[in-house]
């Protein structure tokens, strides 16, 4: 009858199968030692891997938003610089206008100043950045202002003038217009014709609708200034009237009316431009804070996501060493057990 409790094949197979298992573990341990991360996060985390992947995805998303915020910030910065230069144009125009009040027909300095202010305004409001006209609102593919001399605004001005007084601006009868008549024309006829609704019809191709951007996961904000802002309208109108009506075609009184109107427009515009710059600053600040928050959030999420799969390098190294020792022992044992046979002794 059988006495032994161990069969030869189980004695040999046991070590073989345990060695195979150890080798499999060794491959994983090796990977974990070199990367410091779990060899297969899906296996070690199971369903919690969804959390890790969604964290990684959120990080990716916030990163994209932070990157695109860079573009919005750059656009805002250019807008801010342009607004600053509009303010400076006003600063340069104002002394020329003030100096010409009551000087009769010698307003050509103011007229020249008005023309150059208009040209500068046009080029500033037509500033492009990254292929977009930044003052165009959403209609950024078209320059907001045309060259005044060939624009619809000039035609409109002449038409309104002729319609109001019965003769064109360059007619000699223009000299007969007195101060109050001219002031009436400027306030009641010309201003409504070229600003407000008239502005978008005759002067500007810009859209009222500013460019909007998504600056946080659930936050959108206007990130451009439109040329249709009333501050810009007033400054351009001041440029138009001072370049059109101060070239000596009008009498002294009417010219004073023009100068006073222009001075009024420039000062009120400058206040509004300053407000706009304040808004731009606020938005810039808002985006920067949103960026900072997202960066902090990202760091936190990244730390957590990495922690979920990280392996203590010392633990992994120790595990690998002990696996190596085990495998070596198992080899030695296999060799010795193979030699362990009664055959060698009989």
């Amino acid at each position: 009858m059988k006495i032994s409790q161990v069969s030869t094949s189980s004695m040999f197979n046991l070590l073989r199968s345990s060695t195979a298992g150890l080798q499999r573990d060794l491959v994983d341990a090796q990977r974990e030692v070199t990367t410091g991360q779990r060899a297969d996060p899906g296996h070690s985390l199971g369903e919690r891997n969804a959390l890790r992947l969604s964290l990684l995805q959120d990080i990716e998303r916030l990163n994209t938003i932070t990157e695109t915020n860079g573009l919005a910030l750059a656009r805002l910065e250019i807008s801010e610089l342009a607004l600053e230069s509009i303010g400076e144009i006003g600063d340069a125009l104002l002394p020329a206008l003030v100096a010409s009040v009551g000087q009769g027909s010698s307003a050509s300095i103011a007229s020249n100043a008005g023309q150059s202010a208009l040209a500068e305004l046009q080029s500033t409001l037509n500033t492009t950045f990254n292929g977009e006209h930044i003052f165009g609102g959403i209609n950024s593919s078209v320059p907001p202002l045309e060259n005044y001399q060939t624009s619809g605004a000039k035609l409109e001005l002449e038409a309104q003038f002729t319609n109001h007084f019965g003769f064109p601006p360059d007619d000699s009868s223009a000299l007969t217009i007195d101060k109050s008549q001219m002031a009436g024309f400027l306030d009641v006829v010309l201003e409504p014709a070229l600003t407000g609704a008239g502005w978008t019809t005759h002067v500007s191709a810009a859209s009222d609708h500013p460019i909007r951007a998504r600056i946080g996961l659930n936050e959108t904000r206007d990130v451009s200034v439109s040329a249709n802002e009333s501050g810009a309208q007033k400054m351009v109108l001041a440029g138009i009237i001072s370049s059109e009506f101060l070239s000596g075609t009008l009498g002294g009184g009417a010219q004073d009316a023009v100068l006073e109107k222009a001075i009024g427009l420039v000062t009120s515009s400058q206040a509004e431009i300053a407000d706009l710059r304040g808004d731009v600053g606020l938005t810039t600040n808002r985006i920067q804070r949103s960026n900072e928050r997202m960066v902090v959030q990202n760091d936190e999420m990244e730390r957590y996501a990495v922690e979920m799969t990280s392996v203590d390098p010392f633990e992994a190294a120790t595990r690998m060493n002990s696996l190596l020792t085990q495998i070596e022992t198992s080899y030695t044992l296999t060799g010795r057990i193979q030699q362990l046979s009664l055959m060698r002794f009989i």
Partner: protein, 487 residues
């Protein structure tokens, strides 16, 4: 007692020793054969001294049953683990790198870039490209699941054929055993073979073995169906060569009784048939539903809304399907959506559309045009689309993951679902394999051969042979003495 009979007994002893040596040599030859059960040459007394009866060792019945059960479990779990791993690599890539979730994330990134710079049509093209890749990935994943189901189906057909073949051979061996027992012949080899067949059958389907008289056995599946009783019962299966969306596969039937599929990553499937059925019907169906829901929610999220405020219905936008331009109903799974989802031609420059439709809207006519002035930097519509990826929406509960989730969240949840199943499967496989190996070892210790023992036995037989030979010599000498005295 005469000298003659002493000689005869010694002769008989020599015969016994040689027969026992024969048994020992067979045992040694089969020491490495796992299906071999050790024989013992047992000496039995009879009129002429003794004769050798060859006995077959047998394992404890309980142990044999436990081992067969462990074998079924391990086989089922092995298939489930391997195939889940395979599915994970096919559908999600390493650590989700090729999953719909990763592509969605990229689409989100490119849409966000486009939203920040809507006048740049290259960014729109890029976003459309990402969308196209997402569609292609969904289509490819859906069709690879169908291929997978077809592959499982044909494996089921193979396993069914194999099972029928095994049962036929089982029948042969069983008859040999019954007849051999009746006729008093050596049935040990047939028993060995029947045990080996039983192991093969258990790998395919879990069986209980009921022993009857004359060595006959009855095989009953753990589900209660009779698999073998005197003759094999018929195992049938109608294979389906190609699987389409929502196809329903046939069950393997024993005598008309269907074999139930197992469930879960640490599967309850015992044997290959239950495991393959589980993978084909349960796992694949869930994965398919998840992909379909991802596709459906994409169509809804990117649907175009009425821009005029006149109450027009939402219509399919960037993503559309065969039922388009209507938008599929919310929260209800539609079979084959992932296979069906397409990029709307209106957005595709290669199909006569324009990538800028993404910015302007209007793929469904003027009422859906949001950027009415055609402004270059109109970003509201794109921003709405990007944000829709974050909006919580409702998914069908058949997806087996959280049903109230954003699309991005849902897509990562589906990876988590598969990872969870996979993780369970790997751990369960380890423990089931360990149990199976331990039981194998134990059974092998009970019924296997130990060469050392056989060698010791051989020494004993040598001595016995020597003694018998010496006895013959002694008797011979006695006869010589007798004859010389007589001479």
């Amino acid at each position: 007692m005469s000298l003659g009979s002493a000689l005869q007994i010694a002769q008989n002893s020599l015969l016994n020793v040689s027969r026992q040596t024969n048994v020992v040599s067979r045992n040694v030859t089969n020491a490495g054969n796992e299906g071999y059960t050790r024989r013992a040459g047992v000496v039995d007394s009879n009129a002429l001294g003794s004769r050798v009866v060859v006995m077959r060792e047998s394992g404890e019945t309980q142990l044999v049953h436990a081992q067969l059960k462990a074998l079924s479990q391990t086989q089922g779990q092995t298939i489930v683990s391997q195939q889940l791993e395979q599915l994970n690599l096919t559908l999600n890539g390493i650590d989700g790198s090729r999953s719909p979730s990763a592509l969605l994330s990229q689409l989100h990134g490119s849409l966000q870039s486009f939203a920040a710079n809507p006048s740049n049509s290259a960014l729109a093209d890029n976003a459309i490209d990402e969308a196209r890749q997402l569609v292609q990935s969904l289509n490819a994943s859906a069709s690879s699941i169908m291929t997978f189901r077809g592959a499982m189906d044909s494996q089921l057909a193979q396993e069914t054929d194999r099972l029928n073949g095994l049962l036929d051979r089982f029948h042969e061996q069983n008859s040999a055993i019954v007849n051999g027992t009746r006729g008093g012949r050596d049935i040990n080899d047939a028993l060995d073979q029947r045990d080996a067949l039983l192991k093969d059958i258990s790998a395919i389907i879990p069986v209980n073995v009921i022993t009857r008289g004359e060595g006959d056995v009855v095989l009953v599946t753990t589900g209660g169906a009779t698999l073998f009783e005197s003759i094999p019962r018929e195992v049938t299966f109608d294979a389906i060569s190609t699987y389409g969306p929502g196809s329903i596969g046939n069950a393997v039937r024993i005598d008309g009784v269907p074999i139930a599929a197992g469930q879960g990553g640490a599967t309850t499937s015992n044997g290959t048939i239950a495991a393959l059925t589980q993978l084909r019907d349960d796992t694949s169906a869930t994965l398919e539903t998840q992909l379909d829901e991802t596709a459906r929610s994409l169509i809804s999220a990117f649907a175009e809304t009425d821009a005029t405020g006149s109450g027009q219905p939402q219509l399919a936008g960037l993503f559309t399907w065969s039922g388009g331009p209507a938008v599929p109903p919310d929260g209800v799974h539609v079979d084959g959506m992932a296979y069906d989802i397409r990029l709307n031609a209106q957005y595709d420059g290669g199909q006569g559309g324009s990538a800028l439709t993404l910015r302007d809207g209007g793929a469904n006519g003027a009422a859906y045009l949001h950027n009415t002035s055609g402004a270059a930097s109109f970003s509201d519509h794109v921003i709405r689309l990007v944000q829709s990826l974050d909006q919580p929406t409702t998914f069908d509960s058949a997806t087996k993951v959280e049903t109230n989730n954003s699309i991005l969240g849902f897509a990562t949840q589906t990876i988590g679902w598969l990872d969870g199943a996979r993780s369970d499967a790997i751990s369960a496989l380890e423990s089931k394999q360990a149990l199976s190996a331990r039981l194998d070892e134990k059974l092998s210790n009970q019924t296997g051969v130990n060469i050392d023992e056989e060698m010791a036995l051989l020494l004993q037989l040598e001595r016995s042979y020597e003694a018998s030979a010496r006895l013959i010599g002694a008797v011979d000498e006695m006869f010589n003495t007798l004859f010389s005295a007589v001479r």
